[in-house]
Symmetry: C2
Subunit: 466 residues, 2 copies
């Protein structure tokens, strides 16, 4: 497939210019003020062209519970989430479709799905999710979410506790499943990447982390994990290891330039130095961090220390959306209240770079993706600058990053293939998807989480809540 | 005009029920599981009916500069804003149309426009704005933004400073203009309300505040003002008055149950007590407070102290949008990081009440507006629950408040008149508006604010920035 984008507005230095862009196959082959037309012509008048963004951390099956979990901190929220997690592969397929559609229509061309697996149907869950992402045509980074300790062990006990293993789910069994998934599904040339992804220090043994590191080395995979999302996890790390979680993960070799870490809310300055030295990436999920009361990640400090930062929506029941533009906006402006000196604040152009090149670097693909550069893959998004939410005309990137753009994505290409056209996803029937999501759900008036009621008194006591 | 909404989902206690709603003229006259049809029938199947929300603080002409002011704190941002403020009445008309449309399409039926006036054309500015709001059909609270001291006096000097008056704009001249506007435009029965609205202690003399209080009493008007938006204003109040701004405003009699105060970021516990005692309302503008780095207003403390709180978008160049659902979402979840105890966090249902009844109370209209109650005015919004962003079905209000709903507003009635139908504004031609906004603007690549460069060194020095 060859096509020429004609007269697209693109950012240069401090301003903008209008260019033609040629794409041959999956690659950007030329960018110039005026190009001879080759292949299909796409008129880009009054449209802004940017590299596709990365939804660098989410959990697609959470879409089934968006809007319904009450205001709770992560540890209790998680208890409720797991009580009502979808257990049908077909549902997982549908929520992956929904996640992909919402990501594409808010500027994302890649999704990192830290995928919660249906117990006993782990491989089927992964297969269905990948099938959905391929149907929509989004670049898919699937990170099967694994852990080998019981949920209660993720809450500090107030005293050192023995690790709680789960009968029948040893680290070795889980790693075998993961290796099977890698062999079956990891196909970068087809836009499908498997990541190793233990959920985090709160529920994983060292054996699981080390095993994931070995698989990552053996198969050249990126590594993913949650890291220090909450105050409780910070306490827990001290209980478990007698040091910070970052020090521990560094000691056991999980941190690297291929490692991306979701949240990173409660890190010390020493921890930040370790992230910089190991070239790890922080994935910032601002909406989830607010919704769960986790805190404000020290993103300006990360940037000053040279740590790469990208953005994620996080799962749709801790956000409760998959609108990437919203996550980028809030993830940019939120930090202005943490530093009086506005010269450190994230500019709209810096936000674009974090969301695109930052995302690519965090997945070890900075050479192939994340910018409008000849030779890079054609993961492109075209924004309609005549939409009311982007008017009157001022600074296009400022409007996009700081405003609340709705329905502004005109076209999206992933790997050179067009997947959104005239504001509509062209690869699947979204009306059908809506009907299926509607039919397979019901309005919830009251539901009670058994696990929350079991955990709550202990949580309040450990966290010093009266 | 009489109509019957059939089978709308509405919230009751902890759950939902389906009802018919009858509207006669401007009033809700019956709500019941099943009503005899009177007048036009509106099918509300799979739709959620809520009272209209209040966009309780904005500045409509700022729409002309949205997306373009760089990351700056309020005092410098304001300098740039004023350097490039629109000076044509026609532009003010268009941005009021835009503000009304975006507010309606995000659940708002009322807008409080703290209206920046074109110097020398103050009455014309107000007239054009009201004309726009009446054309769209939104309930309009127009609060002409007045001040009588020069812009530089809004920045603390580091020492006590004399008040800087502006030649030719005495408090008395301004108050005369305001009284003329009141006599010309204040028509509550037509949905147009004038408020007294000195911009704030940073740029206003006591004479101006006291004069506004007198006009408010004489004409039974609500009162509005900015209050302690920034750290700099907190310093300035101590310089000017030797006490907090709240103490001072209370002493000169500006606080009352008809007074709504935008921002309220930097208040002490004693200040909060004064707001509670005077029954003043806080208008929370979370996005603007983040964007300008002003801080996080202590909203949970206000609620615990019994202070009424509503939500505003603030002007579109400090947000940079007029999406009320976004402001409500962020204004709800933002505070979860300020209090470890999740039992204090704002629930989605509480957010709805703040945005509707809270807004009405802040404008002394709690008896007439703000809830689905027989006898109240029919300011109603109907949300389409089959929109992808509200699927799968879970808790409708949770989805609406915590998600990122786009294009979900199906219908809006203000004062019993339908102004949005099938997701489209029916009173004006929005395509024409888009074309005019496009034609009257241009993409900005570089602009330099003269006043920012004049103020910046002084600001940095006073604020202790190296």
């Amino acid at each position: 497939m060859t096509f020429t984008l004609q007269q697209a507005l693109i950012p240069v230095d401090q301003g903008y210019t209008t260019v033609d862009v040629r794409v041959v196959g999956d690659t950007i082959t030329a960018i110039s003020p005026s190009l001879e037309v080759v292949g299909t012509v796409v008129n880009c008048e009054n449209k802004l062209l940017l590299p596709g963004f990365f939804n660098a951390h989410t959990h697609s099956p959470e879409m089934w519970q968006r809007g319904v979990i009450p205001p709770l901190p992560l540890e209790l929220w998680l208890a409720e989430l797991y009580d009502f997690a979808p257990l049908e592969v077909e549902k997982v397929y549908l929520s992956a479709l929904g996640t992909a559609v919402e990501t594409l229509l808010s500027g994302g061309t890649s999704v990192v799905d830290h995928l919660v697996l249906i117990p006993g149907q782990e491989i089927e869950t992964i297969a269905a999710t990948i099938q959905a992402y391929q149907a929509v045509g989004i670049r898919a980074f699937v990170a099967p979410l694994i852990w080998d300790q019981s949920l209660i062990s993720g809450i500090p006990s107030g005293e050192n506790q023995a690790e709680n293993s789960i009968p029948g789910r040893s680290a070795q069994e889980i790693l075998q499943m993961l290796e099977e998934a890698i062999n079956k599904f990891h196909k970068p040339e087809a836009g499908v990447y498997i990541l190793t992804a233990p959920t985090g220090i709160q529920l994983c043994s060292d054996e699981l982390f080390v095993g994931c590191g070995e698989l990552s080395d053996r198969y050249n995979l990126c590594r993913h994990s949650h890291l220090l999302e909450t105050k409780a996890q910070q306490l827990l790390a001290q209980e478990k290891y007698g040091c910070s979680a970052v020090e521990h993960l560094n000691r056991i070799g999980y941190l690297s330039s291929r490692t991306s870490l979701a949240h990173c809310v409660h890190l010390t300055d020493d921890d930040i130095k370790i992230l910089a030295e190991t070239q790890s990436t922080v994935v910032h999920n601002p909406l989830s961090n607010l919704r769960l009361g986790s805190g404000i990640a020290p993103i300006l400090k990360y940037r000053q220390a040279g740590v790469n930062v990208s953005f994620g929506c996080d799962g749709a029941s801790s956000n409760d959306s998959q609108d990437l533009l919203e996550a980028i906006k809030i993830g940019s402006i939120l930090h202005n209240v943490t530093d009086l000196d506005y010269q450190h604040w994230i500019t709209p152009r810096q936000a674009v770079e974090m969301a695109s090149l930052g995302g690519a670097k965090g997945l070890n693909l900075g050479e192939q993706l994340g910018s409008l550069t000849v030779g890079k893959k054609a993961d492109l998004v075209l924004y309609d600058l005549t939409n009311l939410s982007l008017l009157p005309r001022t600074d296009p990137i400022g409007l996009l990053m700081l405003g609340r753009p709705t329905q502004v994505v005109d076209s999206v290409w992933v790997d050179g293939k067009r997947v959104v056209e005239n504001g509509r996803v062209s690869t699947i029937n979204v009306d059908d998807l809506k009907q299926e999501l509607f039919a397979k759900s019901e309005w919830v008036t009251n539901r009670k989480s058994k696990t929350v009621s079991e955990f709550e008194a202990h949580y309040r006591s450990v966290m010093g809540l009266s």
